[in-house]
Amino acid sequence: MRVTCGVDIGARTVKAVLFDVDSSSVIASEVVLENANPQETAQKLVERLCSTVKGLHWPDTVIATGYGRRHCLFADDATTEITCHAVGCRSIFPDVGLVVDIGGQDSKIIVLSEDGAVCDFEMNDRCAAGTGLFFEMACSLLSVDLREAGKLAAEAKDAAEISSMCAVFAQTEIVSLVQSGIATPAVLAGICRSIAKRTSALLGSRRLRGRIVFTGGVALNRGVVLALSKELGQPVSVPESPQTTGALGAALLGIRRL
């Protein structure tokens, strides 16, 4: 059995995927929360995943990705999450033309050509507004469970207007909306719309082609999925495990090393 492993060390979570090259399938994957020592967390995660596969001591190759990729000293190579998400998403949706990835720390759009290669990309900068961390902070302010927030937002009849360009100022705006009596689901829907608007703005004048795939932890949020579909004017597809597409792509890129 030839097994590759992709490890995605992000800002909030560490993800790992084991890929069986011979059967061309994922044999194990997991997402764990980041701690102060992401390298150690990642190594233990890979060891744990390997222990679930009979006869596997360690993968044949490990490719690291994500913000912590350069610090993942046990990896054989490192590749950016931009390339990895593109490869991972294309393996699930061969007709993908655009990947939208919103993680804890940043959001990005990745444009793929018809042959599946990355041909353009854009990332947010300067502010955390429009990222998973922003949504987490907003949920904390609203005393809403993060896992419930997306559902509440999706069910809201109206969406409040969040106009601020800055995550910190947006928090002040959220407090102000709550104090003025706006219902929590409407505020959450407003936050989702704000994230979707910021993300779609990354597209600029680029023309859309093919399927839009939404990945990253924020893709688990039904409210943002709906808002993004509306903002982009077409449905977005969410992989079954949107947090691990980067790690999956890394594992697939590892095949080149075998």
Partner: protein, 484 residues
Amino acid sequence: MNDIFEQSIVSPELIGIREWDRRFASIPAQWLDSCRYLRELDGGTKYVLSPEHYAQRGDLLLRRLKYDNSPAGLRLWSFIFSEKDRLFKAKENGWKIIAAMKDLGQIPALSYAWKKQLTFYGDEMWWSPCFAEDPALLDIAAKLGAGDEFCFVRAALGAFETLTYFPRPDLVIAAVGACCDDLTAVSELIRRRGNNVEYWELPFRQCRNDRISGAVFASHKGQNDAPIHALELVEREMERVRGLLSDLMGSKVTDDDIAINITRINRARALTARIRQLAYGCDPPPIAGLEAFLVEFLPLHYCSDPEEALAVLEEILDLCQRRAVARTGPMDKDLLRIYWVTPCTDTSIVQFVEGLGCRIAGTEYMLGQAFIPIPEDMPPLKGIAWSVMNDAMAASSKMRVDRILGEAVRNRAEGVIISGIFGASHCPYETSIISEEITQRMGIPTLSFDVPFSAGTLPGQITTRVEAFVEMLRERRRNGRSVQ
């Protein structure tokens, strides 16, 4: 012969600061003694030293960089980083100090017709915080009204307060008009702090095909076509600046004196143009991107010593030519070819890109007019006016795009990096125009990002973008989609 000079031709490499410290002792004392600035003052001052010497004075970024292993390269670095010594020495000896702001080589074409003065590039402070890995100059500027919303040239405002990078200039000559708003604002803040600032107007250069104002255009061989009214305005402004300089220096210069200076300046421009051709066109590149970067800035203000600047450039050109013949260079052959637009405030990004398996295959640092000779077949102030009209900032973005495409196509660039200067007023609108034009007209990918100040490390946002861009270019080459 296998001395350090020959070694740098046969086995060029990029070495760290510690290695230069170790090798420095093998540089012949006679050669070190021959490299001197301000030879008019006591026979000149020796300045070629290990980069560690300059790092210890505060430019800490030098410790993170790699350097060409040639004495010529070391001379270039030392010449750049010893500029403040020249300025203070000249001041101590009673010379006049002139700061040129928003000036890409025009004022020195006039001012160096006088002896006993040095003209330096005041805006050059924009890269100082990154080299010093210290935001002190930016913090001072913020307290004086130029905060984060301003371009990095606001560091000049801080430097005018500390006077640690240069002595107080006797005169500051600043362009206004068709240039960055933030540059003008910084110049005005400097004036309000009691500095002797005089402005001259840089008019917008229309293109012949703009057809918006009915302007009448003139042509001259080797120059961009320019509206006659703009040329006449600049010539009058240069005459006025000449008057200001005469008052400052207490003496007048003739047209012949200025013409002689222009001939010398054109020599520096020709040397720089030739070095660029070799550095960006040869494979392997005879010098790395950062040495080429420094060379490009030399013909603007000659680091306050035109004669020594010429000697530095001649030695670099000789190095490039010998390496080109030997087909050697400090980097590998057949690297990914990157065209670079707008100079980086944090120069370590250039080496980061090269470290990923790329080489620089052309640049548009908005200095293009400084490589075009000033016409010598006309009165000198008219010639300078023509040169001013070659400034990319004085024209629409199309002029920059045309320059970029010309060189990028010639050197078969595979990707273009546009590194915006955080807060510079022209960057937000110009970057997207340049990016779209390149993609449409050349079909190669572009990457644009702003470079914020960061001490001692590159922000992850930038390294991830650059690495992803390089991965994309590598994949394109693998798929046969880039020009080989």
